[in-house]
Amino acid sequence: MTDRFFIDSGQLVSSSYEWREHADTLDGAAQRTGEAATSGFPAADVVGAADTFKQRWSTMVGSLRDTSRTFEDKMLTASQAYAASDYAAQEAFEAWLVSMGEGS
């Protein structure tokens, strides 16, 4: 952990949306890959290999979709965590200020 950090939490939300767009695209791509027609291949063994290939790739693309979704969620969570942390610090100081006023 470094002792300095800077954050524009709104940009984290924007970045989260960008990950979402990629996740959505990969969702469709994984589906299309899994459903790609293999019946045009010339023999049963080639069709079989193509079927295995497309199913495994659908899974692999789906895995990257899930990774992108995780980024989407984590960026949103990070943004909320920074905002919550800032709010908690603000509340602490304000509460202290109030308590100082009550003491005077």
Binding site: T25, R32, A37, F41, A49, F71
Partner: protein, 591 residues
């Protein structure tokens, strides 16, 4: 009498069709390439996640490292999938080549069958043969047997080659279907796309369509496949890239758009207005392509190929840019590019493909020996919006959009010329502008010059600011044509003498000097709506469509001429077509 027996070989065994469908295999390869493109997008995004501007610190560094890891993973997968896609395409090409060999064997078998029948006929007809005659017949039989043996050996070799090729395809699939294999293979591959995009003539502001075409043809198949996957939005929309390649790239972009937006819709998420507009235009492009795919050529009854030659659904503030070709402009004898007018944008391309299919069919019927390609080009920001989200229809009263559109149209037409397939004569190229699109065509011709053989202006509110005469359009004035329905209110807006809107002179006016053709509609008095007569120019069995089909086909002497409008000083414009009874002209095709 002595009977001599001559042993004639059995009837040749059949040469059956090879299994498999190369077109279906190419569709499989295209699906893989589209997915590779999606992975490449992710890899580029994740590799360039720069956080310093808005986020730094330990968490930002951890995020950057994780994103970089995902970028490497996506990049490897993209490259491997692209490689396999190419292998599938190569396999499909091999299958095509095998089919050519099979057809050759089939022809040889047919010939040998005929020789066998001839031999048997000659044997049966032979009476009291000499020894020499008998020997000739025996020699023919032996030669036939030898030829059949060679045929069967060649057929066996072909089947073995098909099998070997299939085994190689299986090996290619199996070498790249696990995570470990993908990682290992991905590490050995480099992406040639970035380097290819920096070579001289690559798409960019400084490259003419001819430069781009030279650049494209200089790339290796691997480089070409790489740039299609990495930059489909560039390859699909750059003038000078061959039509079939633009189509392949744009279909990838279309697939990815539908993947993203329909997934969001399926997940029940609310789409923004811009996203809804984007999805609407993507679906319109898809529907337009399906519309063409469901059509057949009126002469051959064979399917007509459709090409998505422009696809930018978010262009012009969300109006979208799109073009669909019926037939291939790179190879067709007669090529037309139609430019629509007001109220057209990326969402209206389905109607546009109806229009150009009618034109395609009529031109084919006009000259059945000549091939045709007809394109509906919505590549400029036409006046299309009245609502809250844009007011560009107001601009129909001036030429601002037509000026900009003229430049874009001129560049597109330069691209059509540049992508002509090597070895073919130049196409007979016709530009057709309807309504405000005619003003756009006029401005393209006067301001930039367009490399066309014929210009057709229909339902025109004016031929543009610089066109006071057909000869101003930069081509032989004998090849400038106009169709103007006498009841078309938009055509009535054009300037005759000093009366009219600011979009230019009426091309149907005698002062303009264009050939006017008949364009009246049999229902001109009863058609519904104020703009009925303005929207009938591409209707099947109409005077207008018949005449445009003749012009596109180059049958100028078959065009049904009409008297031009004129404007005597003492009264308003006179239209001789007003009192002529319209005819129902067969365009050789009923929609």
């Amino acid at each position: 009498m002595t009977t001599v027996t001559i042993d004639v070989p059995a009837f040749p065994a059949p040469i059956p069709e090879l299994p498999g469908d190369a077109g279906s295999m190419r569709a499989f390869a295209a699906d893989l390439l589209a997915t590779s493109s999606a992975l490449d997008d992710l890899a580029s995004f994740a590799a360039n996640v720069r956080t310093d501007d808005y986020w730094y610190g330990a968490a930002a560094e951890a995020y950057g490292a994780a994103a970089s890891d995902s970028a490497d993973d996506a990049d490897s997968k993209s490259l491997v999938l692209r490689k396999v896609s190419g292998q599938v395409e190569d396999f499909a090409d091999e299958m095509d080549a095998f089919e050519v060999r099979r057809l050759g064997l089939y022809d040889r078998r047919t010939t040998l069958s005929s020789r066998r029948i001839d031999l048997i006929t000659d044997i049966n007809a032979t009476k009291d043969a000499t020894d020499a005659q008998i020997e000739v017949l025996k020699e023919r039989s032996r030669h036939l047997r030898t030829s059949l043996t060679v045929l069967y050996e060649d057929h066996a070799t072909l089947l073995e080659d098909v099998k070997t090729s299939g085994q190689q395809m299986i090996a290619a699939f199996q070498a790249a279907d696990t995570q470990a294999e993908v990682r290992e293979t991905g590490d050995t591959l480099t992406d040639p796309a970035d380097a290819a995009m920096t070579l001289p003539g690559a798409p960019g502001d400084d490259s003419s369509p001819a430069d781009v075409n030279t650049w494209w043809t200089s790339l290796s198949p691997t480089q070409q496949r790489a740039v299609i996957a990495a930059r489909p939005e560039v390859i699909g929309n750059t003038n000078g890239i061959p039509t079939d390649v633009r189509d392949e790239a744009n279909r990838i972009s279309l697939d990815l758009d539908l993947d993203a937006l329909e997934t969001r819709e399926d997940n029940g998420e609310n789409l923004s207005f811009a996203e809804e507009q984007h999805l609407e235009r993507a679906r319109a492009a898809q529907e337009a392509l399906e519309n063409v795919a469901n059509r057949t050529d009126p002469v051959t009854d064979e399917p007509v190929p459709g090409y998505l030659t422009l696809y930018d659904p978010t262009a012009f503030g969300g109006d979208g840019a799109v073009a669909v070709s019926v037939g291939n402009p790179d190879t067709a004898d007669n090529v037309s590019v139609s430019v629509p007018g007001m109220m057209n944008d990326g969402a209206t391309i389905v109607n546009g493909t109806d229009s150009v299919f009618n034109l395609y069919s009529t031109a084919r019927a006009s000259d059945p020996d000549a091939s045709v390609a007809s394109t509906m080009w919505i590549g400029y920001d036409g006046p299309s919006n009245f609502g809250l989200h844009g007011l560009d229809s107001i601009q129909v009263i001036d030429e601002g959009l037509a000026d900009a559109g003229g430049e874009q149209l001129a560049a597109y037409l330069d691209g059509v010329r540049a992508t002509r397939q090597e070895g073919l004569d130049p196409a007979h190229l016709t530009a057709i502008g309807h309504s405000y699109g005619s003003t756009t065509v006029g401005n393209a011709a006067t301001d930039h010059g367009i490399p066309v053989d014929d210009i057709v202006l229909i339902g025109s509110p004016g031929a543009g600011h610089e066109a006071d005469h057909a000869s101003d359009l930069g081509i032989d004035e004998d090849h400038v044509w106009t169709g103007a329905n006498s009841r078309d209110p938009v055509s009535g807006l054009a300037r005759n003498g000093w009366v009219g809107t600011g979009l230019g002179l009426d091309p149907a006016d005698e002062d303009f000097g264009a050939h006017r053709f008949q364009a009246e509609d049999v229902d001109r008095e009863t058609g519904e709506g104020a703009f009925y007569n303005h929207n009938q120019y591409y209707q099947s069995n109409s005077e207008s469509l018949f005449n445009m089909g003749q012009i596109v086909a180059g049958n100028d002497d078959q065009v049904l001429g009409a008297d031009q409008r004129y404007d005597p000083w003492y009264r308003t414009m006179v239209d001789p077509e007003h009192d002529r009874t319209p005819t129902d002209v067969s365009t050789g095709y009923d929609r």
